[in-house]
C-alpha cells in the first residue's frame, strides 16, 4: 500500500475506479455497451470521446506547470483555432476553397503562434506566467470573434464537413478517433520527456530555475518550448471541440476549460509549484473529471446542484491526496483503536 501511494497515478486511478463502482450500483445502464452503425456505443465510449480535448490540454499544461509556470490562455486559444479552422472549412476565408489541410495547418499554426507569444512574454520579457497568459486569455476571445465576425460558424453545408467531423466525433476501429490522437500525442510526449534530456531540464527548472541556469541549462528556451507546446495542444483541442459540434462558437468553446486542465494536473498528483511531474497521471486526472461529468448527467443530478456535487467530489479527492490529511486520519483511527481496546 505504502509503495503504491508513491506513484502519482495512484490516486487518480483510485478516484476513477470509485466513480465507476458508484455507477455500477446507482446508475442504470451505465456500463451497457452496444454496437451502433459499426461503432461501440455507451457511456464509457462517451467518456473516452469527450475527454480527448481536455486530455490534450492537460498534457500541455503539465509541462508548463513542471517549469513552475501556468497557462490560463488555453481556453481562448481553443476558441481561436476552432474559429479559424471552421472559417476555412466553411469557405468564409475565401482563398483556401474549404481545404481540410489548410484548416488544420492554419488552426494549429494559430495555436503555435499564441504559444510562442506566451513563451516570449514569460521567458524574454520576464512577465509572471499567470499575468502573461492572462493577456491572451482576455484578448484571445476577441481575436476569435474577429475571425468569425461575432457569429457562430456552422459548417453543416461545407464540402469537407464529413472529414472534419470525423476528427472529433468519428470512429476508428469501433472507438472514437479522437482518443487515437490523444494516444499518439501522449506517447510522443512521453518519448520526448523520458527518452531525451528535455524532461530532466524541465524538472530542474521547476525545482530551482536559478541553479539550473547557472549549471548551463538554457532555461529561457525551455520555457519558450513548453508554452509553444501548450499552445499547440490547445489548438488541437480546439479543432476537436469545434469538430464535435460541427461549428465554432467563440463565446463558449473552451470557456473555463483552463481551470479543468489545471485541475487535471492537480488531480494527477503534480505539484503546481513545479518540479517532478507525470504526464500520464495528468491524463488520468482528465479522465476523472470527464467521468464525473458523465456520471452527473447519467445519474440525473438536478442542474442546480451539479456544481456543488462536483466540488464535493474534488474536495474529497484532494483531501485524500494530501499526505498530512492522510497521516492525521491514520493517527485518529489508531487513537480510536487504542480507546476501544
Amino acid at each position: 500500500m505504502k509503495n503504491l501511494t508513491k506513484y502519482k497515478a495512484f490516486w487518480p486511478t483510485v478516484a476513477f475506479v470509485v466513480l465507476l463502482i458508484f455507477n455500477a450500483f446507482f446508475t442504470k445502464n451505465f456500463f451497457a455497451i452496444s454496437i451502433v452503425d459499426g461503432h461501440l456505443f455507451g457511456n464509457l465510449i462517451d467518456i473516452i470521446k469527450n475527454v480527448s480535448p481536455l486530455a490534450l490540454l492537460s498534457i500541455g499544461m503539465t509541462l508548463v506547470i513542471a517549469t513552475g509556470g501556468i497557462d490560463i490562455s488555453v481556453g481562448s486559444v481553443v476558441a481561436i483555432s476552432g474559429a479559424l479552422a471552421c472559417s476555412i472549412i466553411d469557405k468564409r476565408l475565401g482563398f483556401f476553397d474549404g481545404s481540410l489541410a489548410a484548416a488544420l495547418i492554419f488552426g494549429l499554426l494559430a495555436g503555435v503562434l499564441c504559444g510562442l507569444w506566451n513563451g516570449f512574454l514569460v521567458s524574454k520579457v520576464k512577465i509572471q506566467p499567470i499575468v502573461a497568459t492572462l493577456i491572451l486569455m482576455t484578448a484571445g476571445r476577441g481575436v476569435a470573434q474577429l475571425i468569425t465576425k461575432g457569429k457562430i460558424v456552422t459548417i453543416n453545408s461545407a464540402p469537407m464537413m464529413k472529414q472534419y467531423y470525423f476528427l472529433g466525433a468519428g470512429y476508428f476501429l469501433g472507438l472514437p478517433f479522437a482518443i487515437f490522437i490523444v494516444a499518439i500525442i501522449l506517447v510522443g510526449m512521453l518519448m520526448l520527456v523520458r527518452k531525451t534530456a528535455f524532461g530532466l531540464f524541465l524538472e530542474s527548472l521547476g525545482i530551482n530555475s536559478r541553479s539550473s541556469r547557472l549549471s548551463g541549462v538554457n532555461t529561457d528556451r525551455i520555457k519558450l518550448v513548453v508554452y509553444t507546446i501548450s499552445g499547440f495542444m490547445a489548438a488541437l483541442s480546439g479543432i476537436l471541440i469545434s469538430s464535435n459540434i460541427k461549428g465554432a462558437d467563440c463565446n463558449n468553446a473552451g470557456l473555463f476549460i483552463e481551470m479543468d486542465a489545471i485541475l487535471s494536473v492537480a488531480i494527477g498528483g503534480n505539484s503546481l509549484a513545479g518540479g517532478r511531474f507525470s504526464i500520464t497521471s495528468s491524463v488520468l486526472g482528465a479522465f476523472v473529471i470527464q467521468c464525473l461529468t458523465t456520471t452527473v448527467y447519467a445519474f440525473g443530478v438536478p442542474p442546480e446542484t451539479i456544481l456543488l456535487v462536483k466540488a464535493f467530489v474534488i474536495v474529497i479527492l484532494c483531501l485524500f491526496q494530501s499526505q498530512s490529511f492522510r497521516q492525521k486520519l491514520m493517527a485518529w483511527r489508531e487513537g480510536k483503536k487504542v480507546h476501544s481496546a
Binding site: 451497457a32 456505443f41 457562430i152 456552422t154 463565446n251 447519467a298 442542474p303
Partner: protein, 335 residues
C-alpha cells in the same frame, strides 16, 4: 515605507478630487439643460427624432436587432441617433443624457443590466421624453418608462408544448435541455412548457431535464447521456434554445436514430442553423424569439409622439416555424 504611504495618500486625494470635480460639473450641466428646456418649451421636432441606446454586439441575435432598427429607421425616414454602449451601463447612461440634451422625441434603450436606471430615467421624464425598454427589463417604477417591447418567455414555453403535442399526437416521453440555471429565459421557458403539459397534455411526460448552458457542446453531451440512460424511450427533445438542439441532433445521429423522425425536436429562438437542420429534415419546429423589433419599436415611438398611450408590455410579434416550410423560410433568415 513612509514615503510610499505618503505618495499613495497624495495619489488617492488627487483621484478623489478629479472624480469629485467631474460629477459636480455634470451635475451643473444637467441643471442648465433642464432650465433651458423649461424656459423654451421644448420645440416640436418635425420629423420623428429617436435616440436608441443599444447594449453592444455580444451575439448574432443582438446584431439582428440592431440591423432591424437601423433598417426600419431608414425606411421610415426617422432621424435616428444610435449609440453602441459596448456592454457598459455608464456608456448607456451617458448616451441617454446626450439624447435628452438633443431633445429627441422618444428614447429607446436595451438595458444591459436591470438596476441603476432610476436617476437617468427620471431626468428623461422631467424633460418630457418617454422611454421605451427594448427586449430587456429594468428594475424601475412603472411610471418611469412608457413601454416594454419584448418576448414573453412563458408564452414561448406554452407554444413549444403545443407544437410538441402536435408532433407526438399528445402522447410520449420528452427530454428537456435547459438553458443556463437561473437565467430568466430558462426558468420561464421551463415553466411555460411544464404548465402547458400539466394543463392540456396529461399523457406527455418530461422524463429527464438537464442544463445544457445554452451551448451546442453541452447540448450534445447531455443528450448523449440521456440516450444511454433511456434507450428507446425518448420520443421528443425540447431545447430552451436552438443551439442546444443542434448539438442534440448530432448525438441522436450517433445513436443510430433519425433526429426529426425517431426523436422529434422543438426549440426556441429561430436561428439560421436550425432552419438549415429543418430543411435537411433533421429538426421539426422552432418557436421564434424575434430580434427584429424595429417595426414595433418605431410604431410605438410614433404613437407616443402623437400623444397616444401605448401598452405597458408590447409583446414582440413571434411566430412558430415548422420543418414543412423551412426551405422557403431559409433565404429570409437574417441571423
Amino acid at each position: 515605507m513612509a514615503k510610499k504611504f505618503f505618495a499613495l495618500i497624495v495619489v488617492l486625494t488627487m483621484v478623489l478630487g478629479i472624480t469629485g470635480c467631474g460629477s459636480q460639473s455634470t451635475g451643473n450641466q444637467q441643471g442648465d439643460t433642464k432650465k433651458t428646456e423649461e424656459s423654451t418649451e421644448k420645440p416640436k421636432n418635425e420629423k420623428l427624432v429617436i435616440g436608441f441606446a443599444q447594449i453592444g454586439q455580444e451575439s448574432g441575435w443582438r446584431d439582428a436587432e440592431t440591423f432591424s432598427i437601423l433598417q426600419e429607421a431608414e425606411k421610415l425616414g426617422v432621424d435616428l441617433k444610435f449609440s453602441d454602449a459596448q456592454q457598459k451601463q455608464e456608456n448607456q447612461i451617458k448616451a441617454i443624457r446626450t439624447f435628452i440634451q438633443q431633445g429627441v422625441d422618444v428614447i429607446g434603450v436595451a438595458p444591459v443590466v436591470e438596476t441603476g436606471w432610476e436617476t437617468v430615467f427620471k431626468e428623461a421624464k422631467d424633460a418630457g421624453i418617454p422611454i421605451i425598454l427594448v427586449d430587456r427589463r429594468a428594475a424601475v417604477p412603472e411610471d418611469l418608462y412608457a413601454s416594454f417591447i419584448g418576448s414573453d418567455f412563458i408564452l414561448e414555453g406554452n407554444n413549444a408544448a403545443d407544437e410538441m403535442a402536435k408532433l407526438l399526437n399528445n402522447k410520449g416521453n420528452i427530454v428537456e435541455l435547459q438553458g443556463t440555471v437561473g437565467a430568466s429565459a430558462a426558468t420561464d421557458r421551463m415553466k411555460g412548457f411544464k404548465d402547458q403539459l400539466a394543463a392540456k397534455y396529461p399523457d406527455m411526460k418530461i422524463i429527464a431535464s438537464q442544463t445544457g448552458d445554452f451551448t451546442r457542446a453541452k447540448g450534445k453531451e447531455v443528450m448523449e447521456a440521456f440516450l444511454k440512460a433511456y434507450p428507446g424511450q425518448i420520443n421528443g427533445v425540447y431545447g430552451h434554445n436552438d443551439d442546444m438542439v443542434l448539438g442534440a441532433i448530432e448525438a441522436i445521429k450517433d445513436a443510430g436514430l433519425k433526429p426529426g423522425v425517431d426523436i422529434k425536436t422543438v426549440s426556441v429562438d429561430g436561428v439560421k442553423g436550425l432552419f438549415e437542420a429543418m430543411a435537411a429534415g433533421e429538426a421539426n419546429v422552432t418557436v421564434e424569439c424575434n430580434p427584429l423589433l424595429g417595426p414595433q419599436f418605431f410604431k410605438a415611438c410614433q404613437d407616443l409622439k402623437d400623444g397616444k398611450t401605448t401598452e405597458k408590455w408590447i409583446k414582440s410579434e413571434e411566430s412558430v416555424y415548422r420543418a414543412e416550410t423551412a426551405k422557403d423560410d431559409l433565404p429570409n433568415r437574417k441571423y
